[in-house]
C-alpha cells in the first residue's frame, strides 16, 4: 500500500476496489465492500476463537451472538419500561396544553440526572411517543448543533417543517408508488415563514421544541430564543411548546432572567434515579434465569465503574457487552455456557481435547484433589461426560435457588437497622455472591430473635409473596410450605392468645406482693433471683426459635456463593481461572483505562515492558542505567528538576550517564549524544511533559509535578 506520510496533507484515502464493472460506481463499491467484509470477517473470527477445533469455535461464536442479542433486547425493554410513566406524563402535559389560550409558553422541565450518555435513549423514546400520540411537529435540539441563535432558529424551523414532509411522503407513498423526492423546504427560514406555513397545515397540533441539554445553551441565546418564540406564539397564534432536559438541579430562574422566565409556564418532571434502574437491570439480567452471570470480581468492577465514575447505564451495558464477548472468546470452556435444553446435545459433541479443557478448570481440579476416589473421571471420557452434565445441571438449579434465596433474605431483612446485607436486592445478591461475612448473619439472627410477632409475621408474608411471584423449583418448594406453616402458627397465636401471653401482664406484680412493702435491698435480692430463673418460654418464643433454626439450616445452605460450586467458571464470567483464561484484567482496563499510568510506567521502568535483563532496576525505581532507552533516561533526569530545566545541564547529565563506563571524563559532548538528547527531548515535549519557556535562556518548563 502507498505511504501515508506527506508534508502537504494529513488525510489519505484508500478506496475499496470495485469488484466487477457494469453498474454505477456507487453501488458497486457498496456491494464489494460488503462481500469482502463478510468473507474476511468470518475467517478472522474463526481464528480469533481458535485454539480449539472448528465446531467448538462456531458454537461459542453463536452463543455469544445469541446471549448478547437477548441481553440487549431485555435491557432495552427494561429501560423503555422504566421511562414509560415519565413519557406518559410528559406527553399528557403537552396535549393538555395544546390550546393557544395562555400567552406564556407551556414548558415541561424534565430532570434526568447527571448521567448524560443515557439521555439520548430517553429523548429518542420521547420523540417517537410524541410523534405517535401528540403531534408530528417535533424539533429536537441540542446545544452542540446550535452554536448561535441563528443556527438555533434555522434548525428548529427546519426540523419542525421536515416532520411534516416526511408525513406527506408517507401519504404520497400510499397513494402512488412513485415517490417524488422533495427537497426540504428551504424557503421556510424565519418564524414569519413558519407562521404562514402553519396556517396551511390541516391538523393543528402543537409545535414542540425539545432542548436536550438546557444547561449547555448560552444564557443570552436561550433568552432570545424564548422571547422570540413567545412573540410568535402571542402574535401569530403558533402553538409552540417547550420540553427542556435538565441534568443538574439548577433552577430555571438561575439560568434565565426574570423577564424571560415569566414567559414560561413550567411544570417539573423527574426521572427515576439511574441507580434504581441499575438495580432493576441487574436483577433482571443476572438474577433471573439468565445463562451467563457475572462473577463477584466483575460485578464489583462494574459497580465501581457505575457508582464512582459515570452513573451511566449505557456505559454499563457496553461493559456487559464486552464481558459477554470476552467470556466466549477467551474461555475455551465457554462452549457449554448455554441454556439447559441445549446442554446434552453440546456435551455429546465435545471432543476428547475439549473434555481435557474442562478437566483443567480450577474448581474441578480442586474437587479431584479432595475426592481421590473419583480419579477415574480424569481418564474415562464417558463417565466424565455424564458427570459434567450432572454437575452443570446441578449448578444451574443451584444458581436459580440462590437468586431466590437472596430474594427471600431480602424480604426477611428489609428495614432492619444497619442494613446488614444491603438495602436493595441487588446489594444482598452481590453481598452473598462475594460471600457474606458470618458476623452479619449472626447479627441478622439476633435481630430476628428480638423482633415482635407482628414484625415477624409481616416479614414472612413478604417472603411468601416473593416466592409466589417466582416459579419455585423443587429444592425450594419446601421453603414455601415451611414459611406458610410458620406464618399460620403466628396467625393462630394472634387470634387466640394462650396462657403464656395471659400471664405476662401479671409478671410485674411478682416482685411486689400485695400489702407488703419491700425495702430496697430485698427488692434487689428478689430481682436478682428472678433474673437467674429461666424465663418461662412463651409459645411465640418457641415458634421464633424454630424459625431461626430453620433459617440456619435451610436458608443459609442455599446462600453459599455459587462460585464455590463445581464448574461455576463456565457460567460465571470473571471467575478465578488460570491467567491465560482470565478476562478480569482486560475488562478492568476497559472500565478504568489508564493511558497516563502506562506511559509513566514505561518511562520509569522500561524493563517491565521490554522484558530485558539489562534495564531492570531491581526495585530501585529511581535508578538510572545507561542501557535504558534514551527517552527513559531523559525522563528520569527531568523528574529530578523543579519548574524550569536548564537544557545545557540536562544534556550534561545525559552525557554523564552515557559516558559513565568510559574513563576519560571530558566535558566535550559528542554530536551523536547531542542528537540523541535532542530527539528524546522533542519526544518528551510531544508526550506533554515539558514545553518551551521564555523565562530564561535555554530553559524548558516542566508540566508535571510530584511523581
Amino acid at each position: 500500500m502507498a505511504t501515508t506520510s506527506s508534508f502537504s496533507k494529513g488525510c489519505f484515502v484508500f478506496k475499496a476496489k470495485p469488484e466487477s464493472s457494469g453498474k454505477s460506481p456507487r453501488k458497486k463499491t457498496k456491494k464489494s465492500s460488503n462481500l469482502l467484509h463478510r468473507s474476511n470477517g468470518d475467517l478472522n473470527a474463526s481464528s480469533l476463537f481458535g485454539k480449539c477445533d472448528k465446531s467448538s469455535m462456531e458454537i461459542r461464536q453463536d452463543s455469544y451472538k445469541k446471549i448478547w442479542m437477548s441481553t440487549k433486547k431485555k435491557s432495552e425493554d427494561i429501560i423503555s419500561d422504566s421511562h414509560k410513566q415519565l413519557l406518559h406524563d410528559v406527553s399528557q402535559f403537552v396535549s393538555e396544553n395544546a390550546d393557544i389560550g395562555q400567552s406564556s409558553i407551556p414548558t415541561a422541565l424534565v430532570a434526568l440526572g447527571v448521567n448524560l450518555p443515557d439521555h439520548a435513549a430517553f429523548f429518542s423514546l420521547l420523540d417517537s411517543t410524541l410523534n405517535a400520540h401528540v403531534s408530528p411537529f417535533v424539533a429536537m435540539l441540542n446545544s452542540k448543533e446550535c452554536p448561535s441563535l441563528k443556527n438555533m432558529v434555522l434548525k428548529a424551523i427546519q426540523k419542525l417543517t421536515s416532520c411534516d414532509l416526511a408525513d406527506d411522503d408517507a401519504e404520497k407513498d400510499e397513494e402512488a408508488d412513485e415517490i417524488v423526492p422533495v427537497k426540504p423546504s428551504s424557503k421556510i427560514k424565519t418564524f414569519a415563514n413558519l407562521a404562514t406555513w402553519y396556517s396551511n397545515v390541516v391538523i393543528k397540533t402543537p409545535l414542540i421544541i425539545i432542548l436536550q441539554d438546557l444547561e449547555s445553551f448560552s444564557t443570552q441565546q436561550l433568552q432570545d430564543f424564548v422571547l422570540l418564540c413567545r412573540e410568535y406564539r402571542v402574535r401569530n397564534k403558533l402553538p409552540i411548546q417547550f420540553i427542556m432536559g435538565i441534568a443538574t438541579t439548577v433552577t430555571l430562574q438561575q439560568q434565565l432572567h426574570h423577564r424571560t422566565s415569566v414567559c414560561l409556564a413550567t411544570k417539573s418532571f423527574q426521572s427515576r434515579p439511574s441507580i434504581v434502574l441499575l438495580n432493576h437491570l441487574i436483577e433482571q439480567l443476572f438474577m433471573n434465569s439468565s445463562v451467563l452471570k457475572l462473577g463477584p470480581r466483575l460485578m464489583q468492577l462494574l459497580l465501581d465503574g457505575f457508582l464512582y465514575h459515570d452513573l451511566s447505564l449505557s456505559s454499563f451495558l457496553m461493559r456487559v457487552h464486552l464481558i459477554i464477548m470476552q467470556h466466549y472468546i477467551t474461555l475455551p470452556v465457554s462452549s457449554l455456557c448455554c441454556s439447559m435444553s441445549e446442554l446434552i446435545d453440546r456435551i455429546k459433541k465435545l471432543s476428547a481435547a475439549d473434555l481435557d479443557l474442562y478437566r483443567q478448570v480450577p474448581s474441578f481440579m480442586k474437587f479431584i484433589e479432595n475426592n481421590r476416589s473419583k480419579v477415574s473421571l480424569l481418564t474415562d471420557d464417558k463417565e466424565f461426560r455424564s458427570f459434567l452434565q450432572k454437575s452443570l445441571e446441578d449448578l444451574n438449579s443451584y444458581s436459580k435457588d440462590f437468586s431466590l434465596s437472596c430474594r427471600i433474605l431480602h424480604c426477611l431483612s428489609d428495614g432492619m437497622p444497619d442494613a446488614l446485607f444491603g438495602k436493595s436486592l441487588r446489594e444482598v445478591y452481590i453481598n452473598f455472591l462475594i460471600g457474606a461475612e458470618s458476623e452479619d448473619w449472626d447479627r441478622f439472627i439476633q435481630l430476628l430473635n428480638i423482633s415482635t410477632s407482628y414484625e415477624l409475621q409481616s416479614r414472612i408474608q413478604a417472603a411468601l409473596t416473593t416466592l409466589k411471584e417466582s416459579d419455585v423449583s423443587s429444592a425450594l418448594s419446601d421453603f414455601s410450605t415451611s414459611l406458610v406453616l410458620f406464618s399460620e402458627e403466628l396467625k393462630r397465636l394472634e387470634q387466640a392468645p394462650d396462657t403464656d401471653t395471659a400471664t405476662s401482664p401479671k409478671s410485674p406484680n411478682v416482685f411486689v406482693p400485695k400489702g407488703k412493702k419491700l425495702d430496697k435491698f430485698e427488692l434487689k435480692a428478689q430481682l436478682l433471683a428472678s433474673a437467674k430463673q429461666a424465663r418461662p418460654t412463651s409459645k411465640f418464643d418457641e415458634i421464633k426459635s424454630e424459625f431461626v433454626s430453620w433459617l440456619n439450616s435451610h436458608l443459609a445452605r442455599q446462600l453459599k456463593s455459587p462460585t464455590t460450586i463445581l464448574f461455576h467458571e463456565v457460567f460465571y464470567a470473571g471467575s478465578q481461572v488460570q491467567s491465560s483464561w482470565d478476562i478480569v484484567p482486560w475488562i478492568r482496563r476497559q472500565v478504568q483505562p489508564v493511558p497516563r499510568v502506562a506511559i509513566s510506567k514505561a518511562l520509569s521502568d522500561p524493563a517491565s515492558y521490554l522484558g530485558c535483563n539489562c534495564c531492570s532496576s531491581n526495585g530501585q525505581g529511581s535508578q538510572i542505567l545507561s542501557t535504558m532507552p534514551d527517552l527513559c533516561i531523559v525522563y528520569k533526569l527531568h523528574t529530578e528538576c523543579g519548574r524550569l530545566i536548564n537544557l545545557y545541564d540536562w544534556m550534561l547529565s545525559f552525557n554523564a550517564i552515557q559516558q559513565k563506563d568510559k574513563d576519560d571524563e571530558n566535558e566535550e559532548i559528542e554530536p551523536i549524544i547531542q542528537a540523541r538528547f535532542i530527539r528524546a527531548v522533542a519526544q518528551l515535549q510531544l508526550l506533554g511533559f515539558i514545553q518551551s519557556s521564555k523565562r530564561k535562556t535555554d530553559h524548558v518548563a516542566r508540566l508535571t509535578w510530584g511523581v
Binding site: G10, A45, Q590, L610, P671, S692
Partner: protein, 340 residues
C-alpha cells in the same frame, strides 16, 4: 503502577524559586544542530533494545484479530502507551484492511483540519459530488449516509490528540464520527493529558476499547513537523529568517534595523528597558538622513513587523517602543556580521 497525585506537591513545586544555573547551550561546540544533522546522526545510531521491541510489536500484532472482531461488533479501538504506534496501525491497515474503504488521518500533521477529514470521507469514500454550506451540514450528511446505507469505512487516526485535533470541538466531531454505525475508528493517543479532552458523553459516544500498546518506537515522523520543533531549532529558524529578510532590504532599512539592534544590545542588562522609543528613533533616523518623515519610518517598521523581526509595544506611560524578539547572543552575532 500506582500514581497517586498529591495536590500539595503542586503548590510545593510552584512556590519554590527556580534554582538553575545560567549556563546556556552556547558552551557547546555546536550549539544548534539542524534537523538534517540530527536525522543523519540518528540514522547511524543503533538501539540496544531492537530485539525486545520487535517482540513487543509481534505481541501486539496478535491482537489484530480481536480488533477486527471488536470493530465489527460496533466498538472502536484506541491504542495508547509509550512509543510511536504509527507502524503498528499501518501494519494493521495493510494486513487486515487491504481492499476496504480506509481513511488515514495524520493527527500530528500541523495543517490538518476537520474539513479535510470530512472531504476525504465525502469525496473519497461516498463519492459525493455536491458541496456543503457548512461543516455541520457535511457532518450530518456523513452520519446519515453511514446510518442508512450499508457502506463501511475504516478511519485510522494517528495521534488523535495532535496539535490540530486537541480541541473540544474537534474531539466532539471525531466522537460523533466514531458513533456512526458504518464508520470504524482506530485511533492512537500519546499526550499524557489526552483523557481530559473527553467528557462522559464523548466517551460513551465513541465506544472505545482500550489497548496498551507500548512500543518504545521513536516518534520520528510525529516530531518531524515544524510545530513540534524544540527550542533549539525554533531559534535557529528565527536567526535564519532574519538573515534572509535582511538581505533583501534597502540600505536605509538595514541601517534602521541595526540602530534598533544596537540600542537593544547597549541596554541589555537593564531590567526596565522596554524597547527603543519611536520618537527617539525617528529623530535619530532623520539626523542620519535615513528617513524624511515619520510616515516613511512607519512603512519601514511595518515591513519588519510583518516578518516578525520587530515587536511594537506601548509602555504604561503611552510611548511606543520597538523591540527585537531575539536572544542577546544571536543579536550580537548578527550585528557584528552586518555592521559595516
Amino acid at each position: 503502577m500506582d500514581i497517586t497525585v498529591n495536590t500539595e506537591d503542586y503548590f510545593l513545586a510552584q512556590s519554590s524559586s527556580v534554582h538553575t544555573s545560567d549556563r546556556t547551550l552556547n558552551r557547546l561546540n555546536n550549539p544548534r544542530l539542524s534537523q538534517e544533522a540530527v536525522d543523519s546522526l540518528m540514522e547511524n545510531f543503533d538501539d540496544c533494545h531492537s530485539k525486545e521491541k520487535i517482540l513487543l510489536m509481534k505481541e501486539y500484532q496478535q491482537q489484530f484479530l480481536q480488533w477486527i472482531f471488536l470493530l465489527r461488533e460496533g466498538f472502536n479501538i484506541l491504542v495508547y502507551g509509550l512509543g510511536s504506534k504509527r507502524y503498528l496501525l499501518d501494519e494493521f491497515r495493510t494486513r487486515f484492511l487491504d481492499g476496504k474503504n480506509v481513511i488515514v488521518v495524520n493527527g500530528y500533521f500541523p495543517g490538518l483540519t476537520i474539513k479535510e477529514i470530512f472531504n476525504s470521507i465525502t469525496d473519497g469514500i461516498l463519492e459525493h459530488s455536491g458541496t456543503f454550506f457548512s461543516t455541520v451540514e457535511q457532518l450530518e450528511f456523513i452520519e446519515q449516509e453511514f446510518n442508512s446505507t450499508k457502506i463501511e469505512a475504516y478511519l485510522i487516526i494517528h495521534n488523535m490528540d495532535g496539535p490540530s485535533l486537541q480541541f473540544s470541538r474537534e474531539q466532539e466531531v471525531l466522537c460523533r464520527l466514531a458513533a456512526a454505525p458504518g464508520l470504524h475508528v482506530v485511533a492512537s493517543t500519546d499526550h499524557i493529558n489526552t483523557p481530559l479532552l473527553w467528557d462522559q458523553r464523548k466517551l460513551s459516544q465513541s465506544k472505545f476499547v482500550y489497548f496498551d500498546c507500548t512500543t518504545f518506537a521513536p516518534y520520528s515522523e510525529e516530531i518531524s513537523y515544524e510545530n513540534s520543533l524544540l527550542v533549539q531549532q525554533s531559534t535557529t529558524l528565527g536567526l535564519a529568517s532574519l538573515v534572509h529578510v535582511f538581505a533583501s532590504l534597502t540600505f536605509n532599512a538595514k541601517a534602521i534595523f541595526i540602530l534598533i539592534a544596537q540600542r537593544q544590545l547597549e541596554n541589555n542588562n537593564e531590567t526596565n528597558y522596554h524597547g527603543f522609543p519611536f520618537h527617539e528613533l525617528y529623530s535619530e533616523c532623520r539626523d542620519r538622513m535615513l528617513v524624511n518623515s515619520d510616515l516613511t519610518l512607519r512603512a519601514q517598521l511595518t515591513e519588519f513587523k510583518d516578518h516578525k523581526l520587530l515587536r511594537i509595544r506601548r509602555t504604561p506611560d503611552g510611548t511606543e517602543v520597538l523591540h527585537i524578539p531575539l536572544e542577546k547572543n544571536q543579536l550580537e552575532e548578527f550585528v557584528q556580521k552586518h555592521q559595516e
